[in-house]
């Protein structure tokens, strides 16, 4: 064979080598790429596109691209801070508008006006017009609010004044009489109600008498809680030389300063002398008491009252008019609110994206880079053309595809049915770009495994009816905002639909209708040994007819040997289903990375596939062989004679061969892959060192990518990685197979719970022959079934089926370290806004 250097001297051979390298890469990517393409099996083919957009059509271009929603823009200005970016001022303006809209929202909710969810669709409005409009509306609203507050302040003050006039007048007269009487008398006897007890009796009063000052008074309102403290301080400060009368108001009055309703007392303080007056005034100010002027003259009092009443009614009318005006304003805003909100959001997101594009000032254009699926190329180009025409720019946008080695994002085109199943897979890990998607099989196997654990066709029908109801109201629910739990149930409605259909099927097979069996498919296969059925409770029935054609024979329910039979059946079924699913997983790994699946298949099937075969053979022949014994002694003493455990001829040789193959499979899993990878890496390096010569002009990122991919090939690292993988697989083969026994465990739990509820609630209630107890029993049965079996068991079986998929199925082939495709799309933005 010619040496490598000779090969490179020959141009034709160089081309051959190139082609071989490309094919190897393709094979490595696609694995067994010989199957025809299938929807959802691999993620969409993506490419990195570069758009060169002239500045005048930039806004429109981004807007149209957002409508299509199929490009994920890369942030080319990542090093810049938010303030350094080109369109930072625009974003600030949008932020201002958002704040104004939030303010309107607050005002509307305070006034109790609901905004219409669907606003009147006006023509597209420009950002500047909207900004101006929002600005003037805000100013108007603030003004109206301020006016309203002022008017309310005045109104409450007048109300208080009116109350003071009314109440104070009542006790003013007799209080004044008693106070002046007290002044004239020098006697220390004081009226019982007066709390104004003088401290220094004789001296002060004689002092006051000599002065003969006229009595002054102060009237006002004091909050009820502070009334006692107020009284005490006035009493102490004035040494008891005042008369204080208070009367509580029955209803709370709106306090002018705080705007809240407060319980207040009206008080009158009678004093003599300027010094006392100033003291009292200061104390009232400290207590935030509202003082109001009062005249002694009776006539003037009535006049004041009428005047104040008149002013009050005037004010009230003004306030009403003001509130109405505000109401109409807010209603007008409410009609357009949704549309404005959307416009502002849209603009904000457009400017956000525009900030991500790198600007080329000399050429007056913006450069955008982004990932987009290959099938969308035509759509995108159309949109670019449309934007260029609409913005009447001289130049069109340039659309270029870049070649890169970076990992593209993963994008699956799902419809509303497959979306929820893909979400289940994505919750564990987003698929790597173009690796085999387990979602394809999850659509069927997940509801199926759920149903194996849930199997009861009565409960299945209940679930089905509930789901059909949700699906029939699909349109209505998708527009509404639902609670968290309802949201999850609605999102998974198709999953639950399939789950319920499969549950009906497995329920028919397990023959359980709310734990009651029916002989739907023919007569039971078992009957008494003789006519008297004497030994049916000791030795049991006997099989007289052909096997019951579909499902578990109805004779089993309620017998003493029901559990041993069903346990054996369900455990073996779990193993068989588990081995089948794991084989499927290994076969899927064939599509990801060729040929590593062969030793894995040999190992798994040599041991557990053989066990499955033994199970089926034992059933088919009806032999009494002990399978535990066979499997254990296959390892402990493989050369021993099998004796009564023999199921087929030459079983001993078969077992020895399988054991040997499994032992060989382990180093086969471990050793070849690191060496093959090493050799591949070496040849790739040698190829590339020559390919650099006639490098075609790739993108600026081309070289960077190539460098980043050429990591150092650490042989020891790869070897350890493969060792871990092998050990994981070998040990996992046992543990994963055992893990599938949860299918048996949960289905046993379900049938036992269901049997308990049926026998111990319904039948018990039936046995009493009393209508009331029967009704109570039925209600308890319904609630127990719905709460425990339909809700708790559904969640439980859902969770375990999920675990079986995520761990036991997917660890055979799934890598799941990709990232999701998040395109710039207005529809997606709206959904995010609604959910936030």
């Amino acid at each position: 064979m010619s040496t490598l250097s000779d090969t490179y001297k020959d141009p034709i051979n160089l081309e051959v080598l190139r082609r071989r390298q490309r094919m190897r890469q393709k094979m490595a990517k696609h694995g067994g790429g010989c199957i025809p393409p299938m929807d959802l099996f691999r993620s969409e083919a993506m490419h990195l596109v570069q758009l060169i957009v002239p500045i005048e059509s930039a806004h429109l271009t981004v807007s149209y691209l957002g409508d299509i929603g199929l490009i994920q823009f890369k942030d080319l200005n990542a090093e810049k801070s938010p303030f350094q970016r080109t369109y930072a001022s625009q974003i600030k303006r949008c932020g201002e508008m958002t704040r104004k809209l939030r303010f309107f929202n607050d005002q509307m909710s305070k006034a109790g006006i609901t905004r219409s969810s669907k606003s009147v669709a006006r023509a597209d409005m420009h950002l500047e017009d909207l900004e101006a409009k929002l600005g003037e509306l805000e100013a108007e609203l603030i003004e109206v609010n301020a006016n309203n507050e002022k008017l309310q302040h005045g109104y409450s003050e007048l109300t208080e004044y009116k109350l003071v006039l009314q109440k104070a007048g009542e006790f003013f007269k007799d209080a004044q009489i008693s106070a002046s009487a007290r002044q004239k008398e020098i006697s220390p006897d004081l009226p019982a109600e007066s709390l104004a007890t003088p401290l220094l009796k004789d001296h002060e009063s004689s002092h006051d008498l000599s002065k003969q000052v006229r009595l002054g008074f102060v009237t006002g309102l004091v909050p009820k809680e502070k009334a006692m403290a107020f009284e005490r301080i006035i009493f102490r400060a004035t040494r008891g030389n005042v008369l204080l009368r208070q009367v509580a108001l029955e209803e709370a009055v709106v306090d002018p300063t705080s705007g809240q309703k407060v319980q207040k007392n009206i008080f009158v303080v009678f004093f003599s002398g300027e010094r006392l007056k100033s003291k009292i005034v200061k104390i009232s100010e400290a207590f935030a008491v509202n003082r109001y002027p009062f005249t002694e003259d009776m006539g003037k009092q009535t006049q004041m009252i009428t005047e104040v009443s008149g002013r009050l009614s005037e004010l009230k009318m003004t306030i009403e008019a003001g509130l109405q005006h505000r109401g109409t304003l807010l209603r007008r805003i409410g009609e357009q609110y949704e549309q404005w909100n959307q416009v502002v959001h849209k603009e904000k997101s457009i400017y956000h994206i525009l900030n991500m594009l790198s600007i080329d000032v000399t050429k007056k254009c913006l450069v955008a880079e982004g990932w987009s699926p290959k099938y969308a190329t035509k759509k995108i180009q159309n949109a670019l053309q449309q934007a260029a025409i609409d913005s009447s720019s001289q130049v069109g946008t340039i659309f270029r595809v870049l070649h890169t080695k970076k990992l593209p994002p993963t994008y699956f085109r799902t419809n509303k049915f497959t979306e929820s199943f893909q979400a289940i897979v994505d919750a564990y890990g987003v698929a790597k770009y173009q690796e085999a998607n387990p979602g394809v099989f999850t659509v069927v196997t997940f509801p199926f495994l759920f149903a194996v654990m849930f199997g009861d066709w009565g409960h299945g029908i209940c679930l089905l009816l509930a789901t059909l109801y949700i699906i029939s109201k699909e349109k209505k629910f998708s527009g509404q905002k639902l609670g968290d739990i309802m949201e999850m149930a609605f999102g998974g409605r198709y999953v639950i639909l399939l789950m319920s259909i499969f549950s009906i099927y497995t329920g028919l097979i397990y023959n359980e209708f709310f734990s009651v069996p029916f002989a739907l498919f023919g007569p039971s296969a078992y009957a008494c040994r003789d006519a008297s059925c004497s030994d049916s409770t000791t030795v049991g029935l006997v099989k007289v007819r052909d096997t019951y054609p579909f499902g578990v024979d109805p004779s089993w329910h309620g017998t003493r040997s029901e559990l041993p039979f069903l346990n054996s059946l369900k455990m073996k079924m779990s193993i068989l289903l588990g081995v089948a699913q794991m084989n499927l997983g290994i076969m899927l790994s064939f599509f990801n990375a060729l040929f590593q699946f062969i030793p894995q298949m040999i190992f798994l099937n040599g041991l557990f596939g053989y066990l499955s075969l033994l199970i089926v053979a034992k059933w088919y022949t009806g032999s009494k062989a002990d399978l535990y014994h066979i499997m254990i002694y296959m390892f402990l003493s493989p050369t021993d004679d099998l004796g009564e455990n023999q199921l087929f001829e030459n079983q001993k040789t078969v077992q020895l061969v399988l054991l040997l193959l499994s032992l060989i499979a382990v180093p086969w899993m471990l050793l070849p892959k690191p060496y093959i990878l090493k050799a591949r890496h070496k040849t790739r390096h040698q190829d590339e060192s020559y390919a650099l010569l006639d490098d075609n002009d790739d993108s600026l990122h081309g070289e960077a990518d190539r460098d980043s991919d050429d990591q150092e090939f650490e042989f020891s690292e790869v070897f350890v990685h493969q060792l871990i993988h092998t050990i994981e697989f070998v040990l996992g083969a046992v543990s994963n197979t055992a893990s599938y026994l949860r299918l048996w465990a949960l289905s046993l739990a379900h049938s036992e719970l269901s049997a308990v509820f049926y026998e111990k609630v319904l039948l018990l209630a039936w046995g009493y022959n009393n209508v009331i107890i029967l009704i109570v029993g039925i209600i308890v049965f319904i609630f127990a079934t719905a709460g425990v079996l339909l809700v708790m068991e559904t969640l439980s079986a859902f969770l375990h089926a999920l675990r079986l998929h995520w761990v036991e199925f997917q660890n055979k082939f799934y890598e799941g370290d990709g990232y999701k495709f998040r395109p710039f799309s207005f529809a997606l933005l709206n959904n995010e806004d609604e959910s936030s």
Binding site: T537, G540, L541, P549, S561, P564, L569, M573, L576
Partner: protein, 70 residues
């Protein structure tokens, strides 16, 4: 034999389901293959479960022993 007959019935039902899906929603070759995979997987799962339960009851090693006071 009951087993073979019913297996045949399952295969027939599976094929009819494939045809129905092909008639109802014919959305291009890749989508058709996807639907075919789904229907086939469902048929195989259902058949496996039925076959397991049927085989287990063909030659029983234990029989129903009625409990007292039935």
């Amino acid at each position: 034999m009951g087993f073979m007959l019913t297996t045949l019935i399952f295969i027939v039902i599976g094929m009819i389901a494939c045809l129905c899906t092909r008639i109802c929603c014919n959305k291009g070759p890749s989508a058709n293959l996807f639907h075919l995979t789904l229907v086939t997987t469902a048929t195989v799962c259902c058949w496996m479960m039925w076959a397991i339960v049927y085989l287990a009851q063909m030659n029983p090693l234990i029989v129903p022993i009625l409990s007292e006071g039935e």
